[in-house]
Amino acid sequence: MMIRGFSAAALLLLLSSCQSLDEVRTARIPQGEYVPFFDADQKPVEVRSFHLDMTPVTQSQYLEFVKKNPSWRKSKIKRLFADPDYLKNWKADEQVQSEQAPVTYVSWFAAKAYCEWRGQRLPSIREWEYAALEGKRSGERGDASNDNQAGILNWYSRPGKEPLPEVAKGARNQYGLFDMHGLVWEWVFDFNSVPKSDGRSSSSEFPEDLFCAGGTGSSGDPGDYASFMRFAFRSSLKGSYTIRDLGFRCAKGES
């Protein structure tokens, strides 16, 4: 009896910890290889196993962070860490627009601080892209007739809605992730590893104008419009930028 009573308590404990985990459900992304979009040599790279949030961080989740860390309130935030549009769609410091909608109008610094507060980190560009591969496996070429790409393009080309839809309303991908496409753009840790030129660089080692003036020469796959749009979007950012359609999710595990 004693033992059974004890195990019941342990079970209860387990259950409650499951519930708290449930608030921030993560998916395990298995180790594997893929060919990064714009690497000149187009060789597969290895991605180690890691965990990734199933959904983008919601406004109510972010609210918890702001409550515990007042320096990240919209009224307190320092300009170094976010531009003046930070949390623009929130009515007040602790008043969200829509609880289950993804938090957007957050800077890279804010996204990073949030993930670290939760004992996590932002995914790298490679991790994110690897986890987002859909209907197209490593090494396959992008194809205009690919249904999935058509769906992605369709989202990318439609004006955003206000307020944003809630997370986890669409289909999951093969890893159980929601909303990798079709809800918001997402910050990644090394967003600034995308080649960029301001057109004046005299001797930059970055390929000139890869994403700005439209050169497709260095990309592996000129048919992969969806990737072009993601990489172009990332390369237009600075760490302090906050944008309506830009949110994030956190990762865990070795990077």
Binding site: S157, R158, P159, G214, G223, I243, D245
Partner: protein
């Protein structure tokens, strides 16, 4: 004291960078206009610093009647604003990307001398503004467009416009100037399919557009929105081609361009019928209008005009000039040598005549294809702003007698069909009573129309009543 010095130093650093030792320039904000309007000619005799503010926006708007599209735009319109500067001007471009945009955008102006035409310097995330300046070195009419990857998609969604760099002495004076820009759209469903149409990447790669239009939508320059002019005026069209793929065979039906500044450059050719406008290129066409009427502007790669929307109108008002253009002055039966001395009517009477309504419809269908379909289209849907629909047509169904007379004697002047006004000419058709009866019976029994049968006797009766007077 020390910190003062620091502040002083940093203040120095904040000073705007001098762009070399230069004479002091006047500064002004550019007057920009939206198609088909063109900003007034520049009267300044000296170069100035000209500030051009352009906003990029993504929005849903009309592509054709009942058809919507998510356009990416400069200034909320397709094409974007017309910018006019003078050779030698220092042009400072402020590109603001609206906070509601999903995409970063930039601008590559073909008038720029420098890497990327300004593209890299103006690469702008949503909710931000980029600024760069360039010196307008070469006069000419230049296309600008967004050059953010994937460039094709940004252009295909509507991101282009024109910038005119006037030569120092200006362009020869004309009475009216208009801004006309051709481009094509690639939609998921075929031409005319209603609803919000997404971009179709596959069609874009194959260069098979569903829509080829002037100024961003089907009918943007037709009907009430037609370009206007008066007899005797000199007209200048600033013509651009945004592409993204097609090269335009730009033509105004019934006009000869007195001058064409080919490809938007400074050298003019005289007396041109059709001028080629490359994708990402332009032309300036000057012509004097001598005769009143409606002039149809087309891409003379002609299926684009008839089936994809590449039609615009220029309406010229004023007195007739019969010496230059007489109008129809003869209408006779033509009897080729060696043919039997039969009139057309006699000949046609030997054709099969229908013995039932069904047969009449069948014969009518083939006669429709020969005589009517080119304008009214296979499904009777007509062509927006040019030829009225016969399918579900209130005009047709209201009065069979009137319909017979229109078919036999033609019709001119404005008519209202299903709420739209059409102002074009239907020619008189040389048809036998039997043939006309068959065609009309086919029409009335197709596409949701009233179901009447028209007999040759009715046709003969209505023939006597003559042409329908229309005011």
């Amino acid at each position: 004291m020390r910190s003062h010095l620091m502040l002083f130093l940093s203040a120095m650093l904040l000073l705007p960078l001098p762009a070399g030792a230069q004479e002091v320039m006047e500064e002004e904000t550019a007057v920009v206009t939206y198609a088909p309007e063109v900003p007034p000619a520049i009267t300044r005799k000296k170069p100035a610093k000209v500030i051009v503010k352009i906003e990029t926006r993504e929005l849903v708007a009309r592509l054709a009647d009942g058809v919507e599209y998510t356009f990416w735009t400069f200034g909320g319109t397709v094409p974007g604003p017309f910018v006019r500067v003078r050779t030698g001007d220092l042009v400072e471009v402020h590109l603001s990307n609206h906070p509601d945009s999903k995409m970063p955008h930039n601008i590559d102006l073909h008038a720029v001398t420098g890497p990327g035409g300004g593209a890299a310097s103006t690469f702008t995330a949503p909710g931000h503004t980029s600024i760069f300046s360039f010196k307008a070195l070469n006069p000419g009419l230049y296309v600008y467009h967004c050059a953010t990857a994937p460039v094709g998609m940004h252009v295909a969604n509507g991101m282009y416009g024109l910038i005119l760099v006037e030569p120092e002495e200006g362009l020869p004076k004309v009475d009216r100037e208009y801004y006309v820009m051709q481009s094509e759209f690639y939609t998921k469903d075929k031409y005319g399919t209603a609803g919000l149409q997404p971009f179709d990447m596959e069609k874009a790669l194959k260069e098979q557009p569903d829509y080829v239009v002037f100024n961003g939508s089907v009918g943007a320059l037709s009907g009430d929105a037609a370009l206007q002019a008066n007899v005797g005026e000199k007209i200048r069209l600033y013509v651009g081609n945004g592409g993204p793929n097609l090269v335009s065979s730009f033509h105004v039906i019934g006009e000869i361009f007195d001058k064409v500044y080919g490809e938007g450059g400074t050298a003019a050719s005289d007396n041109i019928q059709t001028t080629l406008v490359p994708a990402g290129g332009s032309a300036i066409t000057d012509f004097k209008v001598d005769v009143p009427g409606t002039y149809i502007i087309v891409d003379h790669s002609i299926f684009r005009a008839f089936n994809k929307g590449a039609v615009a109108q220029l309406k010229v008002s004023g007195p007739e000039n019969k010496e230059i253009y007489s109008g129809k002055i003869g209408d006779e039966v033509y009897l080729p040598e060696g043919s039997t001395l039969q009139s057309i009517f006699q000949e046609s009477s030997s054709r099969p005549s229908a013995s039932s309504k069904e047969e009449r419809i069948k014969l009518g269908e083939s006669a429709y294809k020969t005589n009517c379909m080119a304008c009214h289209q296979s499904g009777g849907q007509g062509i927006p702003s040019a030829f009225p629909p016969l399918a579900g047509s209130d005009f047709l169904n209201a009065d069979p007698n009137r319909a017979i007379r229109v078919l036999l004697h033609g019709l001119s002047g404005p008519v209202k069909v299903n709420g739209e006004t059409y102002d074009s000419v239907m020619p008189a058709l040389q048809l036998a009573d039997e043939e006309a009866a068959n065609i009309l019976t086919y029409l009335y029994n197709s596409w949701g129309n009233a179901g009447h049968e028209i007999t040759p006797e009715q046709v003969a009766e209505a023939r006597k009543a003559g042409k329908v007077e229309n005011s």
